[in-house]
């Protein structure tokens, strides 16, 4: 199976679908000749032309608003937010219009749009260009939120997202763009709302997404050599969250750790905890549920501080050991 980068996998998904379905088009800033700020749409202008690779002014509000309107009349727009931070300018059409149109209009409208956004820290882009805002996006009913952690997941999930009749936020972590992985050629979809057990284990369940998945897998590999067996679950879709997979895992291991880059307070680890406590997995917990999350501060510029502001491998390892040693 060929190995391609996460970035290429995303492009692959868009190209595949745009060839198959002429109602699909991409709109965003600098996606044409420039090929997109992160190079995701490189070469697509040549194939699809300026109408379907629609380069926009710097108007995030109108980009998402227009995507909503186009979707309402039967197109399948993919709106690109250069940085996830900029979705904040467009929360109104996303949450007031797209998320609610179907419901408000009594089921008579659909908004099959995708909003792709590049999020996450680690590139020194500082506070306004490094956020992981999934916490906010997850709270509004009517939207789906997807966060792939690997090239294979990215392509399959994006194809599903484009085909999904609901508005989907597709979160790409900047540091993942260059990561390589095996990706099947041609069309394949990964269903939304289904978690992936990235590594099976028996001692502890770690639920994690995005860039944290790889960090956790590295730690799990290291601990395996000591006989510690960590189960790593990647929800892949944050809303709707596949709580069944998580619950079954916690019943098996009795211990839970959630790791996410998004900030701690109001973070989606709380959702996972609530789901576990509301299920019969509660009776199987043998240690307090724990979380590692982005610190409750803006992302700093200084390199070391930037790293300290979000969970790193050492933190994940220390936390797993502490849980297993009954420190808490």
């Amino acid at each position: 199976m060929p190995e391609i980068t996460y970035r290429e996998a995303i492009r692959d998904a868009m190209v595949t679908e745009m060839r198959r379905d002429e109602t699909v088009f991409l709109m965003g800033e600098d996606i044409g000749t420039y090929g997109g700020a992160f190079g995701v749409s490189a070469g697509m202008l040549d194939e699809f032309g300026p109408e379907r690779i629609l380069e926009t002014p710097i108007s995030e509000l109108a980009i998402v608003g227009a995507a909503t309107g186009a979707a309402m009349v039967g197109m399948k727009p993919i709106a690109e937010m250069m940085f996830m931070d900029f979705i904040l300018l467009a929360l109104e059409p996303l949450m007031n219009q797209a998320a609610k149109a179907r419901y408000m209009f009594g089921g008579k409208a659909t908004v099959p749009m995708v909003v792709r956004m590049a999020g996450g820290s680690g590139t020194g882009a500082a506070a306004q260009h490094s956020q992981s805002l999934e916490n906010i996006l997850m709270t509004i009913p009517g939207i789906k939120v997807v966060a792939p952690s690997s090239p294979r997941d990215a392509k399959g999930l994006l194809l599903s997202a484009i085909r999904d009749p609901n508005p989907v936020c597709f979160i790409e972590h900047k540091l993942l763009y260059k990561v390589k992985g095996e990706v099947p050629e041609g069309e394949y979809t990964i269903p939304l709302g289904v978690a992936d057990v990235k590594r099976e284990g028996t001692d502890l369940t770690v639920v994690t997404s995005g860039i944290m998945v790889n960090k956790t897998l590295s730690v799990a590999e290291k601990l395996a050599a000591e006989g510690i067996s960590v189960e790593v679950i990647d929800p892949r879709t944050l809303r709707p969250l596949d709580t069944d997979t998580i619950i079954n895992s916690v019943k098996k291991t009795s211990k839970l750790l959630v790791v996410h880059e998004a900030t701690k307070t109001g973070g989606w680890a709380g959702e996972v905890f609530a789901a576990v406590c509301e299920s019969d997995a509660f009776d199987y917990l043998d240690a307090p549920m724990r979380r590692l999350a982005g610190k409750d501060c803006p992302i700093p510029y200084n390199r070391l501080m930037e790293a300290a502001a979000v969970p790193q491998e050492a933190d994940i390892e220390a936390e797993i050991r502490a849980i297993l040693n009954n420190v808490y």
């Binding site: 109602t23 088009f25 709109m27 109408e51 379907r52 629609l54 926009t56 002014p57 108007s59 509000l61 109108a62 998402v64 608003g65 227009a66 995507a67 909503t68 309107g69 186009a70 979707a71 309402m72 009349v73 039967g74 197109m75 727009p77 109104e92 059409p93 007031n96 219009q97 149109a101 179907r102 419901y103 408000m104 209009f105 009594g106 089921g107 008579k108 409208a109 659909t110 099959p112 009913p141 009517g142 789906k144 999904d164 009749p165 609901n166």
Partner: protein, 343 residues
């Protein structure tokens, strides 16, 4: 209280209906239809007000009595295959596009037979399958969606357009600028109609807008502009028609500003403290769009006094029937509250 300012319109006031009809290719029947529709809107809004006063409507409503000519003038100028996006004061536009009054009333009463099965209410009423993409609870909401609809039309290469109504308040939202800008750079087939009824909620337009009328704003985006007396329905129609033709020939967006006035407060909790009774009286008597059209049609012998009475009676009956339908309709099942969150 800031006094309204008598505008110098770009159009000439309609003085002779017969002559105008010939000019515009409007049959007498069509003009009578325009009159009837305006009356229907007026009586509908008054009935809605009555129902609200009787406690039958939950929430609030934004009534457009006084602005009928804008709705009818623009609505008659576009075709059923064109899209429409309007705002929270959109009952008139919806009625003009041929909406069923009973289903509208049912929606206001939150009934399952309403256009949105009771989920949307007055501010979110829509008939997407009939290309009516809805009223919008967010000021300026129509402007962003219009850009997208325009993009879709262009990609599909049809000659449709999107009639996009918004108020004077929306002209100060950021989206106004983003939308006009996009419309121009991509030549989107958008007919922007600014219904300038002089007030946002309570703020007079001249107080909160840098430079009125909005001629220069349209010009800033290189979009053709026309300022029309929004209470002269035939003038409204005339210039909307011109705009439509321009758009259909591929010239891109067009901007019409229609000066008009609303009789009721912004919403049901408005006590009209920000304008004078005299002002309201003036518009209701001297400038009323329905009276003017009625006068013109009577003068041109296109309508008789009896015919007017008859139209009046028929319209009242229509509206009464709609109310009965709505009141007798069932409520949606509370258990279905989670339906339609996702497709």
């Amino acid at each position: 209280m800031v006094n309204w300012r008598e505008e110098e319109f770009d159009n000439e006031q309609t003085m002779d209906a017969r002559q105008k009809g010939e000019e515009l290719g409007l049959s007498n029947e069509r003009m009578i239809e325009m009159y009837r529709t305006m009356l229907k809107i007026r009586l509908f809004e008054e009935m809605a007000d009555k129902l609200y006063a009787l406690g039958k409507v939950h929430g609030t409503m934004h009534l457009s009595a006084g602005q009928e000519a804008v709705a009818v003038g623009t609505g008659f100028a576009v075709s059923r295959s064109d899209y429409m996006l309007n705002h929270h004061r959109g009952h008139g536009h919806f009625i003009t596009s041929g909406a069923d009054l009973g289903k509208m009333m049912a929606e206001f009463l939150g009934k399952d037979t309403g256009y949105c099965h009771g989920r949307g209410g007055s501010m979110h009423i829509a008939d997407v399958t009939a290309n009516n993409l809805g009223a919008n609870g967010i000021v300026g909401g129509s402007l962003q969606l219009a850009a997208g609809v325009g993009i879709a039309i262009k990609q599909r290469k049809t000659d449709q357009l999107v009639l996009t109504l918004f108020g004077d308040g929306a002209a100060n939202e950021g989206i106004f600028h983003e939308s006009l800008n996009m419309a121009r750079i991509w030549d989107l087939p958008i007919l922007y109609v600014c219904e300038n009824n002089q007030y946002g909620m309570s703020a007079n337009v001249n107080r909160v807008s840098a430079k009125t009328p909005f001629r220069d704003r349209a010009a800033a985006y290189d979009i053709p502009y026309f300022l029309v007396d929004g209470n002269d329905v035939l003038a409204m129609y005339e210039h909307a028609k011109k705009a439509v033709e321009s758009i259909r020939t591929g010239n891109g967006p067009y901007f019409i500003e229609a000066t008009t006035y609303r009789y009721f407060g912004h919403s049901k909790s408005d006590r009209n403290l920000y304008r004078t009774k005299d002002e309201i009286e003036y518009w209701k008597t001297v400038k009323d769009p329905i009276d003017r059209m009625e006068g013109l049609l009577l003068k041109a012998d296109i309508l008789t006094v009896d015919a007017v009475k008859k139209i009046h009676e028929e319209t009242v009956q229509e509206i009464d029937a709609a109310v009965i339908f709505a009141e007798e309709s069932p409520e949606p099942d509370v258990k279905d509250v989670m339906e339609w969150v996702y497709a």
